[in-house]
């Protein structure tokens, strides 16, 4: 068991350093200077109305009404591409927020460990949401995402209700056993 955890630690260290060396994470970059990639990141997010339109089914209903299979397929493909670009843009925006925070916080003398951990956890959660969203768009397409989200919400509500009724039942049984 200890040997296995040692192996994992050794391999993780080698992979991390190789990534740092190839991706230039520890490079002597000029402070404040921004690369072309980060310039791209600075773009503002798409307007909300535009994005709600990408995920909305209204246009899809209209295209389906035309009864033209080719147009339907083309519409779905285009919407998927736009949705994926939006997810990538949003995750770039999140990364930009964090890198700006890191640049500002690294010189701060009164940095708080717990606040940093909370911000990092929030960042990881948002990146995970973007990853899941990207996979969901690839698999189901943007038009079915709203339906999926609604289904997940209904399912989670049902599970919560079931859990509550189960807890209530357990408590009632405990009370009965106590009174007996």
């Amino acid at each position: 068991m200890i040997a296995f955890s040692s192996l994992i630690a050794g391999v993780a260290l080698l992979l991390l350093l190789m990534a740092a060396a190839t991706k230039g994470w520890l490079a002597s970059r000029q402070l404040g200077a921004r690369s072309a990639a980060s310039e791209e990141d600075t773009s503002e997010p798409c307007p909300e109305e535009f994005i709600t339109r990408v995920f909305s089914r209204a246009d899809w209903e209209f295209v389906r009404g035309l009864k033209a299979g080719g147009i339907e397929r083309l519409f779905e493909q285009e919407r998927k591409k736009v949705a994926l670009v939006w997810v990538r843009q949003t995750s770039a925006l999140i990364r930009k927020v964090i890198s700006e925070h890191a640049r500002a916080a690294r010189q701060s003398k009164n940095l708080e460990f717990s606040t940093e951990i909370n911000i990092f956890a929030e960042f990881l959660m948002l990146m995970a949401v973007c990853g899941i969203l990207s996979v969901a768009v690839q698999i189901a397409g943007p038009l079915w995402l709203g339906v999926l989200a609604h289904f997940a919400q209904t399912l989670s509500q049902r599970v919560t209700k079931l859990q509550e009724s189960f807890q209530a039942g357990v408590l009632a049984n405990a009370r009965e056993a106590g009174s007996a």
Binding site: A9, L26, T90, A105, Q107, F120
Partner: protein, 250 residues
């Protein structure tokens, strides 16, 4: 024959590295690192003398010098931390807390293991002990590199070389120690010794001449307003989260 070749190559590379460090005045910039190289050079020569003149003593000399080298190695990590984060007190505080947490965790794990099996220390062999300590060292370097990369700390060529070389050496050593058989000269025995030659070559390339680390411009306005920075970041992240939620539920 192969062992001899590895031994002589290490000696030559160490002498060459120390000569370059002396002529490039790196000795004054990274005294702990240069001290470590000098120690390894002297220990290799000392071990070979002991092996020749008193073979019975060799085992204890080998493990004593090995553990002294391990302690000096920890000091190298501390030197990297000190030099790299001298101008970044925020990241230095973060790194300190993370390393302290890992140290307490490792200590707690060791105490728990000794509590459950009081004979554990007596039954543990020297290579097993070295593997356990090197693993803690490897995890500490992983944590340090993660913090440095997260805060985009710029590294000069020399310091980057020291960190990459030492990290790769520790990673390789931990893997070799996992597979190293108790006796005999197998593949992992040679890999264990040869990994150090790779590290020395890397150090020689990165430490050929002195190159200063980039110095940040002091941003006094930001330095005093950490709470404001953190609040703004959290607000922006929450806005993005709401934006994602609204888009998907539309």
């Amino acid at each position: 024959m192969l062992s001899q070749a590895i031994w002589w190559s290490s000696i030559v590379l160490e002498v060459f590295l120390l000569t370059r460090a002396g002529s490039g005045r790196l000795i004054f910039r990274y005294p702990v690192f240069c001290g470590y190289i000098s120690f390894v050079l002297l220990q290799s020569i000392f071990r070979s003398f002991v092996h020749r003149w008193n073979e019975q003593l060799y085992g204890s000399v080998y493990w004593t010098t090995e553990f002294l080298g391990l302690i000096l190695g920890c000091w190298i990590v501390f030197e990297i931390y000190q030099v790299a984060l001298a101008a970044y007190p925020g990241t230095a505080k973060m790194a300190r807390n993370v390393l302290l947490f890992l140290f307490v965790l490792a200590l707690a794990k060791a105490v728990a293991a000794l509590w459950s099996d009081p004979h554990l220390l007596a039954e543990t062999t020297a290579p097993q002990m070295e593997r356990a300590l090197r693993t803690v060292q490897a995890i500490s370097i992983v944590a340090l590199v993660t913090v440095l990369a997260s805060y985009s700390i710029p590294f000069g060529r020399n310091l980057r070389g020291i960190l990459l070389g030492y990290g790769l050496f520790i990673g390789g050593r931990v893997i070799c120690l996992t597979f190293l058989p108790p006796q005999g000269h197998h593949f992992w025995f040679y890999a264990y010794s040869a990994s150090y030659i790779g590290t020395l070559s890397l150090w020689l390339a990165y430490l050929w001449s002195y190159e200063p680390s980039p110095v940040p411009k002091r941003s006094l306005q930001l330095e005093h307003d950490y709470q404001r920075i953190a609040a703004a970041t959290r607000r922006r992240l929450q806005e993005t989260s709401g934006y994602l939620r609204r888009a998907v539920r539309s």
